[in-house]
Assembly symmetry: C2
Homo-oligomer: 452 residues x 2
Amino acid sequence: MTKVQPKILSGFMELLPEQQIKFNQIKQVIADTYESFGFTPLDTPVLELSEVLLAKAGGETEKQIYQFTKGDTDLSMRFDLTVPLARYVAMHQNDLSFPFKRYQIGKVYRGERPQKGRFREFYQCDIDIIGNETLDISYDAEMPAVIYNIFKKIGISDFTIRFNNRKILKGFFAELNLTDKIVDILRIVDKIAKIGQENVAKSLSDLGISDDAISKIISFITIEGTNDQIINSLKELPVSDETFKTGVSELETVLKGVADLGIPTENYSVDLSIARGLDYYTGTIYETTINAYPEMGSVCSGGRYDDLATFYTDKKLPGVGISIGLTRLFDQFSDRNLISFARKNPADILIIPMDAAQKKTAFEISALLRQANLKCDVFMEDKKFKAKMNYANKTAVPFIGILGEDEVKNNSIVIKNMTTGEQLTVGIKNAPETLLKLKSENTSQAKLIQMK
Amino acid sequence: MTKVQPKILSGFMELLPEQQIKFNQIKQVIADTYESFGFTPLDTPVLELSEVLLAKAGGETEKQIYQFTKGDTDLSMRFDLTVPLARYVAMHQNDLSFPFKRYQIGKVYRGERPQKGRFREFYQCDIDIIGNETLDISYDAEMPAVIYNIFKKIGISDFTIRFNNRKILKGFFAELNLTDKIVDILRIVDKIAKIGQENVAKSLSDLGISDDAISKIISFITIEGTNDQIINSLKELPVSDETFKTGVSELETVLKGVADLGIPTENYSVDLSIARGLDYYTGTIYETTINAYPEMGSVCSGGRYDDLATFYTDKKLPGVGISIGLTRLFDQFSDRNLISFARKNPADILIIPMDAAQKKTAFEISALLRQANLKCDVFMEDKKFKAKMNYANKTAVPFIGILGEDEVKNNSIVIKNMTTGEQLTVGIKNAPETLLKLKSENTSQAKLIQMK
């Protein structure tokens, strides 16, 4: 028979088991952390009506969308989790409690030109807090706390959550009478870490901005110091714009909240140069960088917006949210060999009957171990011992349980630690307790991410 | 601004938070149980090349597929998890350890005509064990053990896993010289539970089968008794066909394995009438019915096949697997009000500061509780106490922590059990320990599924 070559589309990530186990562990940390802040899970369809999903989209986004018709229905695959959230909240607003805190972890689709580090199918891990008409600024402090907890738990300590407030930027530029150019200015200012001060100045000049204004802009976005010093510098600036003042006050409140939530000062800082490309952020904005790998760019970003679902409802729904692009992040960690693959197997133990005669006991022991919440694989192929050990080694199971004729006769099993090579013989009834103890002592389970 | 009506496509399930939490809990039980048997997680792309995904498909399946082009690429959304598994194993065969035990829980897409209980996007939860050239029959016994553990854990006790072996059927019909009609016969025989003996006899007669053969077929598929009695009856049948004998021997081995794995005899039985529609099953076949709701049909089915990936590789890959259609199952449970919604909130506690002055302490306590692995929401809106309690009641959080001026002054917090109404005042430092204790005592967390 002619065979079809088994392959996948470029730009789609597919992992081998050991990688998948690690990917899932990181995904689980993210989900658990989101829940630990009271976010409730959501799962919206991957396919939606194009008229609904594309109500707001346009330009580059629309070109990338996987859009098609089936029968006479115009369908699109979701390209983010924010539009489905807006649609969901507008649709179910009478059934939800506000502030509505939801998380969603799911795949989204963008038919970009495939290139290294860009994916056409990728996981987004989003949280948002949506208010009914209003949403207290204190909620903005929870976002950095969530990010901090996630990165710590996956093994990354040396990272910085940077934040700013769009009102400060907006007010500052209003004071300079540059409101009509704000979108262009912010796009340029946002690049200062990448292109440097001089190039920012040049680009601003190209926009027709005066040298005096450029000098004021540069000295504003490069205000430095501790977070308290930055706030003080901002308060001392001769800016009378009310939006500016509100922004400074909001930033101060968020900084206090972040401290109250116990986040160490070395893990967050105000950065007046970040602006975030998206137009719909109106208050606090966040970016997160891993200090040893600045070229990774922001690994977790987000911000505050005035109104989530203007395209679907008249109800005003202000919110704040962040997103982690997990597929890209995992790819970046993999490229830099930061992922520890010590754990390649979901099972705690593999039971190996030496011969067919011990299969019965092997099954019985596996049931006993599972009752004690231990995860247990059983090798049932009639192969040579070497082949059985090969399977154990290749799947990197942390323990094996060997059952020969003698063990069955004596109601016992040999448990071997595959990392240290140590082994001991225990009575079958004691096997669950012994393995639980060995498992808790076992240090072979390394961190998820290991920074050099 | 003109609004777009927020709606979703028919045939797509979308849940409210409390339902989603329950759905996820059931999904988690399934994943945990799969892992407890040593199945490793897999996550393949939702979109694949049509030439790869549709290598085998045809007829009804192909019509239902969401297929489209983007640029000059012909794409399809996956319609099951078996074809992607075949493609994956063929593609990565040199990197995998065999037997390869994988599970995958993911959405699949079928553009069926929408009707009650049919979904166009639905979760399949699959396990398969794939052998390299051979796969020991003992592995077939693990499938019923997995099913048993899942149903028990979600709160269903009164269910029956039925199994049969296609070799027995094949050999039996070969003995009757009816091999050329076997596909049609099995399709009819499979319906006996639905349409009854008489209609089966009539349909067989319509196929041109002799009355003598029909009578033999009916008495064969209605062999009754305990599992041991059925095996004995099969052995006593005057059938000399070797395939038949192999099937009986395999069935006997599987039955023994299921007993060794500790599954109570009331939860499984041999049923010679089940045949499973799919052509590719070649050995053991499984169906699972919930005894109180036979009209639900089989809620977990599967079987043994000779070769997984003939369309992609010459390597012989025998396997055994089962699948749970979770979206449909959840819908069926919901329709019958079997799902207990006691737990509507991921959080263990909601901290409520009475006034803005207590927000700081509220944040501090939330961090303290999270360090003790407690899940904690904080209400930060400046609303009246009644509105705050409304939020607590509507989100059905099990505990609230109230912080007023006095509590902050005394370094304490009032913890209230929202189910019983009981409340107590504890020192802030003792709050995590107290809440952990209260949580473990709290009986408000009901089972996932509550059978009447």
